[in-house]
Amino acid sequence: MYSPELIKGTLKTIVLKLLVDNTKMYGYEITQRVKELTGDKIQITEGALYPTLHALEADGLVTAEVEYIGKRVRKYYSLSVAGKTRFQEKISEMAAFMNTMALLLDIKPQIN
């Protein structure tokens, strides 16, 4: 499992990517999907996820709709148009950052 410090700066990008691939998702579903996709190497904590989702919503990058399951209120998040644009920027930034780090740390690409 990777350290929370490494994941911290990538959380918004991860959430936006999942919402690009899925029409709408709720919090627990996001954490489970990330665990599944990364083979448990990345585990998003609730303490990081929910403040981030609220910030994304406040910034207008995601929209939310609620569904009532009896007394429970489930909040589904979807990507807004602004969120799609922001995701493209984030991906470009991340790709450039990874290339720079690979150069800086002299990391050779792995062939699996």
């Binding site: 609730e46 303490g47 929910y50 406040a58 399951i69 007394k71 429970r72």
Partner: protein
């Protein structure tokens, strides 16, 4: 697998509210998240309260209210201008307070000889001393007297709110 009852949802809601989760949207998110975990992992004959108390600490480092604080901070403080130390902030505050006074003093001195110029200069000197006094009070108030800006805190300048004091533990 367990199906969460309405009484159990009320229990979780009450517990989270009592522990400092007050933002309704966050509260709903957390209740749904906890219910989802319990439903996926607790056997039908499992002890709900025991399991709830066991999983809750995985949500936080010190207390669950830190999620409330983090959410409020991230939602309210967007596009920050700068994160300052206490010393930097007080220096900035003093600079802002003293700058108009300095301008006044300079203006006053350029019209020396006139009564208006002298009195303007005097007023500005007193205003400067007053600003210095306020900054000194903020700077020297001990932590135990609940200062406006606690020592070791950070000050975030942003569009809205303009100033946020972030106490460090």
């Amino acid at each position: 697998m367990t199906t969460i009852t309405d009484q159990q949802i009320d229990f979780i809601l009450g517990d989270l509210k009592g522990k400092g989760i007050t933002t309704e949207s966050l509260l709903n998110n957390l209740v749904d998240h906890i219910c989802s975990i319990i439903e996926a992992n607790l056997p039908a004959d499992g002890d709900f309260e025991q399991y709830y108390n066991a999983i809750l600490p995985s949500f936080y480092k010190q207390d669950i209210a830190e999620l409330e604080r983090a959410t409020r901070l991230l939602v309210k403080v967007r596009r920050p201008f700068a994160l300052l130390s206490r010393l930097q902030f007080i220096a900035l505050l003093f600079g802002c307070a003293i700058a108009p006074c300095l301008i006044g003093i300079i203006l006053g001195s350029t019209v020396t000889g006139t009564a208006g110029g002298r009195s303007l200069g005097t007023v500005m000197v007193w205003l400067t001393l007053y600003a210095l006094l306020i900054v000194l009070v903020i700077w020297t108030t001990p932590d135990e007297l609940d200062p406006l800006i606690p020592r070791r805190s950070k000050i975030l300048l942003a569009a809205h709110p303009f100033v946020t004091i972030l106490p460090t533990r």
